[in-house]
């Protein structure tokens, strides 16, 4: 299977480049850790309010994990634009390698980086007082990885289609802000007014956050767990489809 072999080769190259600059991985980690340390403590007092299920960390950390998946993925497009500009993308497109591997290999690298960041984040959260079963933690990592994959595919696709940081930046922001505000990442939507709750129901990420919160309080029987996981899988498939088609459309 040339696709898998080529994806692996592209992944290894991308991974090696990321490891040569661990600074960027650390900077990516900084944001969720700042949220954890500077925003998390505020929640301790709000957690007593009605609408909160579980303790403050069980509500807040799933939100941060989902945020990490979304934002960690959304910004990778800048990297692929830089690679296109240095001729690397065209150079790889001219080889007999499967063209979709060129985006899939890079997305795989992004998923690995995001997953490592998620592990560090969970470790910090543990130190601050988060207590969840190992299984819940693993499901959390899988969901983050899926979200990271979906958004990395999309961001890489937009990057390669527009070939311009100036176009990518506003697109990423336009995409990110409503997703962030309507998903209850920072505060659960259950404390929102009715109209905002209804609006947020149309945001798939709200359900993914809710699914992860249910997992974190060990409420595996809640159907939202399956809905959220399924949504995440659908998003990855969608992202992969967009990514593969963008790469193929390069020659059109």
């Amino acid at each position: 299977m040339t696709f898998f072999r080529d994806t692996w080769i592209i992944f290894l190259r991308a991974m090696r480049l990321s490891l040569r600059q661990p600074m960027w991985v650390l900077i990516g980690l900084l944001q969720p850790i700042l949220y954890l340390t500077l925003f998390g403590p505020l929640l301790q007092n709000i957690a007593a309010t009605s609408g909160f299920q579980g303790d403050a960390w069980q509500v807040f950390v799933p939100g941060l994990l989902v945020q990490l998946g979304i934002f960690g993925g959304l910004f990778v497009g800048f990297g692929i634009i830089a690679e296109w500009r240095s001729g690397v993308i065209d150079r790889q497109l001219v080889t007999p390698a499967a063209r979709t591997a060129i985006i899939t290999g890079r997305t795989l690298r992004d998923v690995v980086v995001i997953t490592v960041q998620a592990i560090v984040l969970c470790g910090c959260a543990y130190l601050m007082g988060l207590r969840v079963p190992l299984g819940a933690f693993l499901i959390g990592l899988i969901l983050v990885a899926l979200l990271g994959a979906a958004f990395s595919f999309i961001s890489n696709a937009i990057g390669i289609a527009t070939k311009s940081e100036d176009a990518l930046a506003p697109m990423v922001n336009t995409l990110a802000l409503p997703i962030l505000l309507l998903s209850g990442i920072l505060l659960p939507m259950s404390i929102a007014p009715q109209w905002l709750q209804i609006a947020s129901n149309f945001n798939p990420f709200k359900h993914i956050v809710e699914a992860l919160r249910a997992v974190f309080r060990s409420d595996f029987s809640d159907p939202i767990v399956w809905i959220g996981t399924l949504l995440a899988i659908v998003l990855v498939v969608l992202g992969a489809w967009v990514g593969a088609n963008t790469l193929k459309a390069q020659t059109r």
Binding site: R13, E83, S86, G87, L93, V94, T95, P96, T251
Partner: protein, 360 residues
């Protein structure tokens, strides 16, 4: 110096008779004993395109970047694709490299049909883009191996081949350096190493010397000639530099506004221009007028121009005409105090063909 592994036999024969192939001598013509005739060479065609066309759609309007190009490149040739910026050079090159699907026409590149078997084309061609091929932060050796593996070449072979190619292109000690630490000329040669790692029979170079200082350019040209002379690689390069096309190419295709307006060897193309320019400087205006009358009688001369004590005219072959002219002037008792013969440049050719200068 180079490995000659899987260059096919047809290609080897092309320059076999007149070229020396490295010290090892592994590259002798198979059928020695007679010289290769033109017919033998014609047998191996590397690129053949018919009516190749590319139309872009932008805001409802369609823009014809390439308007139907026919071209043929034989194995072992260095062909220069010359034209001003925006003429359609890079678009044509990208179509031939499978980076852009033609909107019309057909082509066979390195033995495979461009549309039906683009993977087959990609397997046998090398492409050196003007944008480069490596990430600045990446290590040279890693980039070479990773690239080679996309062609299915194993790590050991790609290391060996990569190091040989680097040595051949005067880059022997850069294996563990980062690509960004190389000079402009070194990095361009690294791009060529990347493009050659799978030993392609045909390599496309897009504006190879753009942005290099004169010394690096001259050095790069030497290496490009070596690709053909020592590896037998067919080279197709685009350029908007006259001197580059002139000094490197066996044959030049001139493209303007999406169509090929002329083709031929540099010498043939220059002959198309009205001829060589002869300029005479005489003692005074009186002599100039008489010299002009004499010069006008030269074979194939056009009407001489006179300005003060200077006379100029065009003749088909300046080198032959000049001794005759000087002898005639001496017979008539006229002393020329200065004389100048200018061969036409490709710039003149371009100007004659398109009515505009390449530098625009």
């Amino acid at each position: 110096m180079f490995e000659h592994g899987d260059v096919d036999a047809a290609q080897l024969t092309v320059r076999g008779a007149q070229t020396t192939y490295g010290a090892a001598g592994a590259f002798r013509p198979v059928r020695s004993g007679r010289n290769w005739r033109h017919e033998d060479i014609m047998a191996a065609t590397m690129i053949e395109a018919h009516g190749l066309k590319r139309t872009y759609k932008a805001r409802g309007k369609s823009i014809e970047a390439v308007r139907g190009i026919d071209l043929k490149v034989d194995a072992g040739e260095i062909v220069g694709f010359l034209g001003p910026n925006g003429a359609g050079k890079t678009t044509t090159l990208k179509m031939l490299c499978t980076l852009l699907t033609p909107t019309g026409g057909s082509a066979t590149v390195a033995g495979s049909d461009l549309r039906k078997d683009s993977v087959g084309v990609r397997r046998r061609i090398g492409y050196v883009s003007q944008a480069g091929s490596t990430s600045g932060e990446a290590v040279v050796g890693d980039e070479i191996i990773s690239h080679a593996r996309l062609y299915g070449i194993d790590r050991a072979t790609s290391t060996k081949r990569g190091q040989e190619l680097l040595t051949a292109l005067d880059l022997s000690d850069v294996w563990s350096r980062t690509c960004g630490s190389l000079s402009g000329g070194q990095r361009r040669r690294l791009d060529i190493v990347m493009g050659l790692i799978h030993q392609p029979s045909l390599v496309f170079l897009d504006e190879p010397s753009t942005g290099l200082d004169p010394q690096s350019r001259a050095n790069l040209w030497t290496h490009i000639r070596k690709l053909r002379d020592e590896l037998g690689t067919t080279v197709f390069l685009t350029t908007h530099y006259m001197d580059e096309a002139d000094s490197l190419s066996d044959r030049i295709l001139i493209i303007d506004n999406g169509t090929i307006v002329a083709e031929g060897t540099p010498a043939e193309l220059k002959k198309r221009v009205s001829g060589d320019a002869i300029t005479l400087v005489l003692r005074h205006e009186e002599d100039a007028k008489r010299a002009a009358d004499i010069a006008a009688r030269l074979d194939g001369a056009d009407k001489p121009g006179i300005e003060a004590n200077r006379v100029w005219l065009h003749v088909p072959d300046g080198g032959r005409a000049l001794p005759v002219l000087l002898a005639d002037l001496t017979k008539a008792g006229i002393d020329a105090i200065g004389v100048d013969v200018n061969r036409p440049t490709l710039d003149d050719v371009f100007l004659t063909l398109t009515g505009k200068s390449l530098r625009d």
